[in-house]
């Protein structure tokens, strides 16, 4: 029997905007579950809260109600209420988040950024770098860029570095937030192939895709989010 990885129940998120003296509702009472090796596609119109849902599961956003029961290798834990330090541990070990935005420190080489999760997991630095170069190559980042700083790269190249970093370690749960936006066809194909491998290894995945056709063969189920409120939250503030 396939093991459940995630059980989301009654999950509700709104944002209290103090300076507007207003509450913006994102989604209300979301319920679904996810099993090992299952791939769920999130659908719905712009602004319906698809990315917000992924970020709420990851705990970048704090839910206002509901449960996010994660069946970790260490035991069951409700991510909606877990201690920060537990969430940080699970992010390092079991839960991955792939975004379209580069998360990089300035003046750090692309290969170092990609190798970092492996180094932190205890892989020897040289082996970690070898694997990093392998994945940069798979996603089509040219060798001459491996030692360059990704903060200076184009959007598409940054995204490839991001993917290589996010997918270098197998995870129990992967949250995919438009990982194909701004990618060329070659990189999209490489991503689909990598996701297929991860799915076969038992990774549970839920994601929003700019080009859903890319992952059509992987999708087990689709969840459609609908508008619960006309109010919109202003664009996220990048810090």
């Amino acid at each position: 029997m396939t093991e459940a990885v995630l059980n989301v129940s009654g999950l509700t998120k709104s944002f209290q905007m103090h300076h507007l003296d207003n509450t913006l509702h994102a989604f209300r009472d979301v319920n679904f579950s996810l099993k090992q090796g299952e791939f769920v596609l999130l659908k719905g119109p712009n602004g319906v809260g698809k990315s917000t849902l992924l970020r709420t599961i990851y705990r970048t956003y704090l839910p206002v109600d509901g449960q996010v029961m994660f069946h970790s290798a260490r035991g069951d834990i409700d991510l909606a209420n877990a201690a920060d330090i537990d969430v940080a541990l699970l992010r390092a070990e079991e839960i991955g988040f792939v975004t379209q935005f580069l998360v990089a420190r300035p003046r750090v080489a692309a290969e170092e950024i990609v190798a970092e999760p492996l180094r932190l997991a205890g892989v020897a630095p040289e082996d970690a770098l070898d694997q990093a170069r392998h994945w940069l190559n798979v996603f089509g980042v040219k060798e001459k860029l491996w030692k360059a700083y990704p903060t200076t790269f184009s959007g598409g190249e940054q995204q490839k570095v991001n993917l290589a970093r996010a997918l270098i370690l197998p995870r129990r749960l992967l949250l995919l937030d438009e990982p194909t936006a701004s990618l060329d066809a070659g990189a999209r194909a490489a991503l689909t192939q990598r996701l297929d491998e991860l799915k076969k290894e038992g990774v549970a995945m839920i994601g929003v895709f700019h080009h859903p056709g890319d992952v059509a063969d992987l999708v087990d189920r689709t969840i459609e989010l609908t508008i619960v409120s006309e109010e919109r939250r202003p664009a996220d503030v990048a810090v």
């Binding site: 956003y61 704090l62 201690a83 003046r107 750090v108």
Partner: protein, 269 residues
């Protein structure tokens, strides 16, 4: 909301070890001014805690207390470094100084505060080792050189006095001095404020790398949200001597709960 509720959403479930640093109920007044008002903090081994807040919020006062430079009017401070865990604020001055020089490293914003500017850089680092009882000249030099190297300081300049070095290099000497004894806790007080941005990025990268490789427990105080975002796992937001919010760094910066944190985050350029 109780002080501890503000500190944690719930008790850790998977992390079973004690926090390395545990402060409770810290208050301090300077005359009529309340500098710290029932502040608590926990930092787990290998974790990086960021503290943000405007000038006068109490963040540097709290850091000075973590460094045992200053005592509060009330409150407790425990470091999980030995089986005996006394309240460090109750120890006599000499014992506090000893504990501090052996187990706590600090990097100040102003290198003049942390370094003897006219001594050699290697001598500044070696001083720390001398205090800990190292007497062999060869060992002193070798260990100072290791610490400088780990701080990515160019060793050919190790005998130059800090006064002849650039701001970024002075910070690397402070860092080498702070880590020479492999402290349990590394405190950073605005470590890159005043450096130009390219130097700041390099110093932050060194810090991050050292932290990751040696799993050093750090507390970093900065008014620069970008620095905190780059360095910290968790962040504590202070205002008028109180902790108004704390959480994972991405959560506090992307979904701030408190009105003050929202203002702070939205004011970032």
């Amino acid at each position: 909301m109780s002080v501890d509720m503000k500190l944690e959403r719930s008790a850790p479930q998977f992390i079973t070890h004690e926090p390395l640093l545990h402060m409770t109920n810290i208050s301090k007044r300077y005359g009529d001014v309340v500098a710290l008002d029932h502040v608590g903090a926990k930092v787990y081994p290998g974790e990086v805690l960021g503290i943000v807040g405007e000038s006068g919020s109490g963040k540097s006062t709290l850091l000075r207390m973590m460094n045992l430079q200053e005592l509060p009017d009330q409150g407790t401070y425990h470091l999980d470094i030995e089986t005996e865990k006394p309240n460090l604020f109750d120890m006599d001055r000499y014992a506090r100084l000893q504990l501090r020089s052996r187990h706590i490293g600090i990097v100040y914003q102003n290198p003049h505060q942390g370094l003897l500017m006219k001594h050699t850089s290697s001598g500044n680092v070696a001083e720390r080792l001398l205090i800990a009882g190292e007497r062999s000249f060869a060992n002193l030099r070798a260990k100072a050189s290791d610490a400088l190297d780990a701080s990515e300081f160019p060793l050919e300049r190790m005998d130059a006095p800090p006064i002849e070095l650039s701001g970024g290099m002075q910070q690397r000497v402070q860092l080498a001095k702070a880590i020479a004894l492999e402290p349990a806790l590394l405190l950073l007080d605005e470590p890159t404020t005043g450096l130009d941005v390219s130097v700041q990025a390099l110093v932050l990268d060194t810090l991050k790398r050292l932290q990751q490789d040696r799993k050093i427990t750090m507390v970093i105080v900065s008014h620069d949200l970008g620095v905190i975002r780059t360095m910290a796992d968790r962040v504590m937001v202070m205002r008028r001597g109180q902790v108004v919010e704390q959480g994972l760094v991405d959560q506090v910066f992307q979904d701030p709960q408190h009105a003050y944190t929202q203002q702070l985050v939205h004011a970032k350029l």
